[in-house]
């Protein structure tokens, strides 16, 4: 027995030494050029080089994230399925997005917990990976990236594990058409990229919004086997310099590790890490060495206004609708940023819209991929607080209203337009200078932007200007590029009949199903109004107009 113990001790010692040698970091002497990270024990599969984050819309920050008092720790694992195992396949993106993220948001919407999540309530990474175009994934199941995977969830949906279990993957080129009918029942409404900011990430988790994340891994990550907090990479000798991997961000704890830590769920089975998950230090997570992309997804599109929903049964009400909006280059000004907009807003309800409602028409631009980048181009106020009935005039900076552009002490009778009532014409013309923006933007005119009026239909308050395909317009230093201005107008539609409900003027096409919805834009405007940021934007615009000496 004594000899047996000695032998056991010797074997254990040898095992420890062997293990130690295997972990030996040697950063300057590893070549880190292992061309196939999947040669290691655990497979990866995020083809990060193909990811174009600039094409994925940023989530609109409505202020609920990271600004208030967040709980010191949150754990969403109770809404996640059991830890998955991708095996030898480079399917991590499908596991992160399909199996983990989609299963969890579906579970949260329906009130399921982990114990409820049997195969019929788990979503299949095999189905998702097979459904991704071969152009967007490596041969022999060798990786993909987030955008095509999330696009599949958005446009096609995903089948359940019960229907498509994770076996018989072959070379991942098989057809998934036979179960696409079931998949169509499980789509997402949109997906958004998220800033890698500690408080914002915590805010999403505290808001029950788990995230799919793309990370770069070091050798120590591959060998993790405890609930210690990962604070740095070791070498890349075994895993290679491009070990990119997709996982799910599911929790945080301010008191874990030196600075607090995020909890991440992996798809390498229960034996790896802390029974399948790992804690990663806040600062290391966002510091530019570990996480390189984070995404949230929603099963439901935002409603227009949760406090004032569309109610088609309302009668005896008002309904404002922008119409015949035309944005054009100002040919009489050599400045290529000089433009003018023609517009009208009709009341197609059966009651008069009173000036006493203090409502407004706002015209703004916003970045197609980051709506937090926006600006005001026109602010047209209808109020009885200024002048006498029937009068109108320019708003002065620091003066009436919120220091916007124009005021009108005018009521709008049923089935009449603001231009008819104010100037007796079919539309207003408003000159403006586009700020020096560069990138893809939409222009949008919003009637009752601050939601002062309870309308028959809140959904038809926005009028978008895009290119003829519904895609955003490209501006270079404020100049519209690639289109003649006339092509963004749409005067072909007839004004809807009085009392016609749920009309949406010039909605963008479905060319980009993941584009911001009108509801998101309107909710953003309302939020910016509440925080005072919109006022600041208007003042900024007025100052720029004055400095340009525009009328």
């Amino acid at each position: 027995m004594k000899n047996f113990k000695k032998l056991l001790f010797a074997l254990l010692s040898l095992a420890m030494v062997t293990n130690f040698l295997a972990c030996d970091p040697e950063p300057l002497e590893d070549d880190g050029s292992n061309p196939n990270p999947n040669d290691s024990e655990f497979s990866l599969g995020w083809n990060a080089d193909n990811e174009n984050l600039s094409e994925i819309p940023s989530d609109i920050n409505l202020g609920s994230l990271g600004n208030g008092t967040l709980p010191s720790k949150v754990d969403l694992t109770q809404s996640f399925p059991p830890i998955g195992d991708q095996g030898a396949y480079g399917t991590c993106v499908a596991w992160a997005v399909g199996y983990n993220l989609k299963t969890a948001i579906e579970a949260m919407d329906k009130g399921f917990k982990t114990g409820d999540l049997n195969a019929s309530r788990q979503f299949s990474p095999k189905d998702l990976f097979w459904s991704i175009s071969s152009a967007d994934k490596g041969a022999d199941c060798n990786g993909t990236y987030f955008e095509p995977a999330l696009d599949v969830l958005l446009n096609r949906g995903i089948a359940t594990m019960q229907t498509v279990p994770y076996d018989g993957l072959g070379d991942c080129s098989g057809s998934s058409s036979s179960w696409s009918g079931e998949a169509a029942n499980y789509k997402i409404a949109n997906y958004r990229k998220v800033d890698l900011n500690i408080n914002e990430l915590k805010g999403y988790i505290a808001d029950n919004r788990p995230l799919a994340i793309g990370c770069k891994l070091g050798d120590n990550f591959m060998q993790w086997d405890s609930d210690d907090v990962l604070t740095a990479h070791s070498s890349f000798a075994n895993v290679g310099q491009h070990a990119n991997h997709a996982m799910a961000l599911v929790g945080y704890d301010d008191n874990k590790g030196p600075n607090g830590a995020f909890r991440i769920i992996n798809s390498w089975g229960n034996r790896w890490g802390d029974t399948g998950s790992i804690w990663v230090d806040y600062n290391f997570f966002v510091g530019g060495d570990f996480c390189f992309g984070a995404f949230v997804a929603s099963n439901k599109a935002s409603e227009i206004d949760p406090n004032n929903p569309v109610d088609p049964t309302v009668s005896g009400s008002v309904d404002l609708i922008p119409w015949n909006v035309w944005d054009n280059d100002n040919q009489s000004d050599f400045d290529t940023r000089s433009r003018y907009v023609e517009y009208n807003v009709y009341n197609i309800g059966d009651e008069t819209v009173r000036a006493s409602s203090n409502w407004n028409i706002s015209y703004l631009y916003y970045n197609a991929f980051n709506a937090n980048d926006y600006g005001i181009l026109l602010y047209d106020l209808y109020t009885n607080q200024i002048g006498s009935p029937g009068q109108n005039g320019p708003l002065q900076s620091g003066g009436y209203g919120i220091a916007g552009n124009w005021w009108n002490n005018v009521d709008i009778p049923s089935y009449s337009g603001v231009a008819e009532e104010v100037v007796g014409q079919d539309y207003f013309t408003w000159d403006y200078y586009m700020p020096g923006i560069t990138g893809f933007y939409y222009l949008v005119l919003i009637a009752d932007a601050f939601d002062n009026i309870s309308e028959l239909d809140e959904a038809n308050n926005l009028y978008f200007l895009s290119d003829e395909y519904g895609d955003p317009l490209y501006f270079q230093d404020g100049q519209l590029i690639g289109l003649v201005a006339e092509e963004i107008d749409d005067r072909s539609q007839a004004l809807p009949a009085q009392g016609q409900k749920l009309i949406a003027p010039h909605q963008r096409s479905k060319a980009n199903a993941n584009a911001y919805t009108p509801a998101e834009i309107k909710n953003m405007i309302l939020h910016k109004k509440e925080t005072g940021e919109l006022d600041a934007k208007v003042r900024e615009f007025v100052q720029e107009k004055q400095s340009k000496k525009i009328k």
């Binding site: 113990k5 056991l8 001790f9 010692s13 420890m16 130690f20 972990c23 030996d24 970091p25 040697e26 950063p27 300057l28 002497e29 590893d30 070549d31 880190g32 050029s33 120590n220 086997d225 405890s226 210690d228 907090v229 990962l230 604070t231 740095a232 990479h233 070791s234 070498s235 310099q241 590790g257 030196p258 600075n259 530019g288």
Partner: protein, 318 residues
């Protein structure tokens, strides 16, 4: 008698001259630009400076480097570098990360910063030091980075003072590592380090979180009279040699969870004001010396699955 008087006067004069020399040196510290040091290094010349003030950023990654893999450059410095009682006004960098590249430094000779003061960032992440690494009595005002560095010879950080966080994660100390009497004001990150020789942390003082998780001590580790004013984490550590913790002070939670102790281990006369987590530990060479252990509240002791000689449960009596 006359000779004795002359000798006395001569010695007095010599002392006075020496004293003046010292005070003159204190008053007129030599100003040296970092650029000049870089130029000398580029010529392969050794650096030896005392009582100097170094102006500008000393960025060693500006020296030509060689591409060692896809995006990783290494500058190799073949000259001995010695600074004694010098003050560095700017950053001192041996590591730089660009958009798509990283640049680190290898020192094939010794690297000594003795009783120096660093006013700005000190970043030696990923460095390899083949010779002696000496930083005794050195004072760092800003964060210090040595992540994944390799010290092939002895490394001496005794009496060094760190006003901010210290990053030594995944370092390899091939031989002795000396942190005796070090004073660390910020977070001390030693996660995943390997200490190939003795690791001396005696009388050191850790004012913030100390993370020694997943460290491998191949020889002895000495923590005698070391003070931890914040949480101390020694979880999943491999102690292959002796672990000496005599008279240590842990004012906040201390965790040795999951650690393996192969050598003699003693917590003799140490004080634990908060929790002591020994769960999952294994003491291969018998009962650790817990004599005169001062545990403020025994309810804060976690011995779950702690074992002696692999099979016997660890039991402590107070």
């Amino acid at each position: 008698m006359r000779w004795i008087l002359m000798l006395f006067l001569g010695l007095s004069g010599l002392c006075l001259w020496c004293s003046n020399l010292t005070s003159n040196a204190e008053i007129t510290q030599e100003m040296v630009s970092a650029d000049k040091i870089l130029k000398n290094l580029q010529k392969g010349e050794a650096i030896y400076l005392t009582n100097a003030v170094i102006s500008g950023d000393l960025d060693l990654t500006q020296l030509p480097g060689q591409l060692v893999n896809l995006d990783y450059y290494v500058t190799v410095i073949d000259a001995q570098i010695t600074f004694v009682n010098c003050e560095f006004k700017g950053k001192v960098l041996a590591y730089r990360k660009g958009d798509k590249t990283q640049h680190a430094t290898r020192f094939t000779k010794g690297l000594s910063f003795i009783e120096c003061t660093f006013r700005k960032e000190f970043n030696f992440k990923g460095s390899v030091v083949d010779g002696l690494a000496s930083f005794p009595g050195t004072y760092f005002e800003e964060a210090v980075h040595f992540e994944t560095a390799t010290f092939r010879h002895d490394a001496n950080f005794s009496k060094s003072i760190y006003m901010r966080d210290l990053y030594f994660q995944e370092c390899r100390f091939a031989q002795a590592a000396q942190f005796m009497n070090a004073n660390i004001g910020g977070i001390a990150n030693f996660q995943g380090c390997t200490f190939g020789g003795d690791a001396q942390f005696g009388v050191a003082e850790f004012h913030a979180y100390a993370d020694f998780s997943r460290v491998s001590f191949q020889e002895g580790v000495f923590l005698d009279y070391t003070k931890f004013h914040d949480r101390a984490v020694f979880s999943n550590v491999l102690f292959k040699g002796r672990m000496d913790l005599k008279g240590g002070l842990f004012e906040k939670d201390a965790s040795f969870k999951g650690s393996l102790f192969y050598g003699k281990t003693r917590f003799f006369q140490s004080t634990f004001d908060a929790a002591l987590d020994l769960s999952g530990t294994t003491f291969m060479t018998g009962q650790p010396d817990m004599n005169e252990l001062n545990l403020k509240d025994q309810k804060n002791l976690d011995l779950n699955d702690a074992r002696v000689n692999q099979f016997q449960p660890l039991e402590l009596t107070f």
